[in-house]
């Protein structure tokens, strides 16, 4: 019989091993799923995890998918460390993209690239923050749940985008498709690696990774927010401002998502259309947790998650599997992570039939 026994101290090793264990379980079960679908597991494995990145172009695709995931996950981690649960990064990404795209459509005929692109990123960050400030305001004023409010606003953001690209922002020469005009080259990010789609937006993520590393380790604010997350009464006792924690926690996620949205529309997409993101805002939640809310972990987790996206597409093309297969893998990863996290606080014991009763 298997028994879970509480550990006297949480295991530090398991904190790092549990994501790897979850990944291994995801692969094993994934192989079983492939087999059940009638695919030879090794071939499927190859198609899913090797094929997408066996050339420079594919590697570039990995980077441009990992970039928004890592960026958003970093922003969310700021809040998650303080138990501020921003689930609406997808909506903040949409609003950021919308603000940046609006800026591009408004100014691209009159402004040079060195002014327009920074303006677009500022507008994008502000758009995301504006959307995140709604749950922050409601939470600090009326004690509403930021989980529900931020999540519901995802759909509102989607409808606003849809309304604009079906209406006043629709490309008049677009044959009636619900999308904006293509951006001019002065509203588009530079390609960094010839022959790939790797754009300068990736650099923002690199900078953000470093900034977050410094912020989490050295800043007093991050410490105070961590205290608020771990022991709210201790934060009150120490005199840390609870509202400040809520605002920073939500705005950081909003800004990061807004920047990621901007990089998407100024990068690979090049216009406003539906949808802007294949669920980066939600997948980033998984990235943040698989990455243990730590910049280095988030970097690795974002690459893994990006590979799941690419693998899903590849499996669709090569093996004729349904597109949902990416989602299945993402879901399994989170599921197994939550399950294996139990091992941080507990250990598994094999117990024989004779119980260890007292004489």
């Amino acid at each position: 019989m298997i028994r879970l026994e509480p550990r006297p101290e949480p295991s530090r090793a398991m904190v790092y091993l549990s994501p790897l264990l979850a990944m291994a379980l995801m692969l094993v079960v994934g192989m079983i799923v492939f087999t059940l679908l009638g695919q030879p597991p090794l071939k499927a494995f190859h198609a899913f995890f090797v094929e997408p990145i066996n050339d420079w172009y594919g590697f570039g695709e990995l980077l441009i998918k990992a970039s928004p995931l890592a960026l958003i996950a970093l922003g969310l981690a700021v809040g998650f460390r303080a138990n501020i649960w921003n689930i609406g990064a997808e909506g903040q990404l949409t609003m950021g993209a919308l603000a940046a795209g609006g800026m591009a459509l408004w100014l691209q005929d009159s402004t040079g690239v060195w002014i327009l692109l920074p303006l677009m990123f500022i507008a994008g960050a502000l758009g995301g923050m504006l959307w995140a400030s709604i749950p922050a305001l409601l939470r600090t004023r009326f004690n509403t749940s930021e989980i529900l409010v931020s999540l519901m606003l995802v759909y509102v953001a989607g409808f606003i985008l849809s309304w604009l690209i079906h209406g006043s922002w629709r490309d008049p020469d677009g044959y009636g498709f619900p999308q904006s005009k293509m951006f001019e080259s002065n509203a588009l990010l530079l390609i960094l690696i010839e022959g790939t789609r790797v754009h300068a937006g990736v650099l923002i993520t690199v900078v953000a990774l470093m900034l977050a590393g410094v912020f989490f380790r050295w800043s007093l604010t991050a410490f105070q927010m961590r205290v608020a997350g771990l022991a709210p009464k201790a934060a009150l006792y120490a005199g840390f401002k609870q509202k400040k924690t809520v605002w920073i926690g939500l705005l950081a996620g909003g800004a990061a998502a807004g920047l990621a949205g901007t990089a998407e529309v100024a990068g690979p997409i090049g216009q406003l259309l539906m949808p802007i993101s294949p669920g980066y805002g939600f997948a980033a939640i998984i990235v943040a947790f698989v990455g243990r809310l730590h910049p280095l972990g988030i970097l690795l987790a974002s690459l893994l998650m990006a590979l799941l996206y690419l693998g899903g597409e590849s499996a669709q093309m090569q093996l004729g599997l349904p597109a949902a297969v990416s989602g299945v893998f993402q879901g399994m990863l989170l599921f197994f992570l939550l399950a294996t996290d139990v091992l941080i606080q507990f250990r598994v014991r094999w117990v024989g039939k004779t119980s260890v009763g007292a004489a």
Partner: protein, 514 residues
């Protein structure tokens, strides 16, 4: 007690219980005779509670045997223990506030009850043992002493042959303690054995026939407490001599540092206590104590003083400045330092290292600069605190929760003292702290007041307050009495005030606290 012919009521032989990180009990032998009041004495963490949980069937021992009335038994559950005739009154009551006395008792009995008959039996039993109770009153209307009676009566209804009492007097007024002792003596005279867990030496000397002393999970001695002095018992308990307090002979009391003006405050907790027109001033160089039975407004007062729940600016003055509207950080910058009674989760973050816990309140005192953490400084600060206050920890990077309660307390007290207090508010300074560390903390408070700091101590331990305070006030039902110099009052007078029998104002809705 010439009871040698009958077999002992309970005999423990070689009981050992290991937990992953600690051996709680090691080879413990214990014999309790019928009708004996047997003290189990030991510091926190000595293994008393584990041993009693083993007797009551909550915990299974790894090795060792139990003999009950001459028969070897294995107690697998509390229900089985109750069926054998073992009752236990826990230190923390397990009562439902919104149910009546009779409903609470019915819930704890193993069979289905006929309520009117049960009510009658409750009245009967409670009167017989001098523990009057009204079966139909709601528990949240009862004082702490009355709640304890409910627990005791609940045990007595099952006609126990052995009653285990875990620190029963820690929540009682001195007068209520007297009453409890009468009841226990009466029970013992009827042949019921009592296992009495405590670290209060005077009580044990007064009440108990035999004492078994535990230290570090082992039996270190047995004694007849009536023949021992409190000092000799304490030394058995801690294994070394007790230090004596040094008090300065001359004291200079300076200007008021902490003033509370007519502080009234409603409570959002339906079972909390509203504060009514609290007046208090603590001067530089003195220690003022606030005595009271828990749940009489101490929590609310401390939250109002610390700034964790701010009020109006004029309610609280710190160093002459209106501070009632400030949060805890604002008050700290005026010179207030506060040690709450909850150490882990409020005074310290359990998961964080000791050095980061230094930053918790020290961030404005050079442990951070321009918003950045100064790791070298917090490490140095934390090391100094561990050394100066004799904190047993593996080092500054040890997680706060890896320390024992007493050591966390020493670290928190040390941290606040090293942050140069001008006013120190400290709640339950020695709760759960072993005797040696407790006397060290008390001495530290005395030294601090000699150095000119205004110290306010909120404690339920009257002995402690009388040992260190210059003036003592009593909080009862949310009202605070005038603080009296220690020389002009007595434990009896303070006890009466705690019971609320001679209250400052006559309000009709006083809690009947006994």
């Amino acid at each position: 007690m010439s009871l040698k012919q009958t077999p002992p009521r309970l005999e423990l032989r070689g009981i050992t219980k290991r937990y992953p990180s600690v051996v709680a009990n090691q080879g413990i032998d214990l014999v309790v005779q019928p009708g004996e009041i047997h003290a189990l004495l030991g510091e926190n963490g000595a293994g008393k509670s584990t041993l009693m949980k083993i007797v009551y069937g909550v915990v299974k021992p790894d090795t060792g045997s139990l003999v009950w009335n001459g028969q070897a038994v294995t107690i697998r559950s509390p229900a089985q223990a109750r069926a054998l005739g073992i009752g236990m009154v826990f230190q923390h009551f397990s009562l439902f506030d919104t149910l009546t006395v009779a409903q609470n008792i019915a819930l704890a009995l193993d069979q289905k009850q006929d309520m009117p008959a049960l009510s009658k039996r409750i009245t009967e039993v409670s009167n017989r043992y001098g523990l009057p109770l009204e079966p139909d009153r709601l528990v949240h209307l009862l004082s702490v002493g009355e709640r304890q009676r409910v627990e005791i009566v609940r045990c007595l209804l099952q006609e126990p042959q052995l009653l285990i009492m875990d620190e029963p007097t820690s929540v009682l007024t001195p007068q209520a303690v007297r009453k409890l002792f009468e009841t226990l003596r009466r029970l013992a005279s009827e042949g019921c054995s009592i296992l009495y867990i405590s670290h209060k030496l005077d009580e044990i000397r007064e009440l108990c026939h035999t004492a078994t002393v535990l230290r570090g999970g082992k039996v270190t001695g047995t004694a007849n407490p009536q023949l021992e002095s409190s000092k000799s018992l304490a030394e058995l308990m801690i294994g070394k001599e007790l230090p004596a307090y040094k008090r300065a002979s001359t004291r200079t009391v300076g200007e008021p540092r902490l003033v509370v003006n007519n502080l009234s405050r409603a409570t959002d907790d339906p079972f909390g206590t509203p504060l009514e027109q609290i007046q208090l001033s603590v001067h530089a160089g003195e220690i003022v104590g606030i005595a009271g039975v828990s749940g009489n407004g101490q929590q609310e007062l401390l939250y109002a003083l610390s700034g964790e729940k701010p009020s109006q600016s004029s309610d609280v003055l710190i160093n002459g400045q209106a501070a009632g509207h400030l949060d805890a950080g604002g008050r700290r910058s005026l010179g207030l330092r506060f040690v709450p009674e909850e150490r882990l989760g409020r005074g310290a973050v359990p998961e964080m290292s000791l050095e980061l816990n230094a930053l918790l309140t020290g961030y404005a005192n050079g442990l951070s600069k321009a918003g950045f953490i100064q790791y070298a400084n917090i490490r140095e600060f934390s090391k100094a605190c561990i050394e100066r206050f004799n904190v047993k920890a593996s080092g500054p990077e040890a997680a706060a929760k890896s320390l024992s309660g007493g050591n966390v307390q020493k670290y928190i007290v040390g941290r606040e003292l090293m942050l140069n207090p001008e006013v120190l508010v400290i709640a339950q300074p020695t709760w759960g702290v072993d005797v040696g560390a407790a006397s060290f903390i008390r001495q530290t408070l005395l030294d601090l007041s000699h150095a000119g700091v205004a110290v306010l101590v909120v404690s339920e331990e009257l002995d402690e307050l009388f040992e260190i305070c210059d003036r003592i006030a009593v909080i009862a039902a949310g009202q605070l009495s005038v603080a009296k110099p220690v020389a002009e009052t007595s434990i009896e007078e303070i006890g009466l005030l705690m019971g609320g029998t001679r209250l400052l104002k006559n309000t009709s809705e006083q809690r009947g606290t006994l």
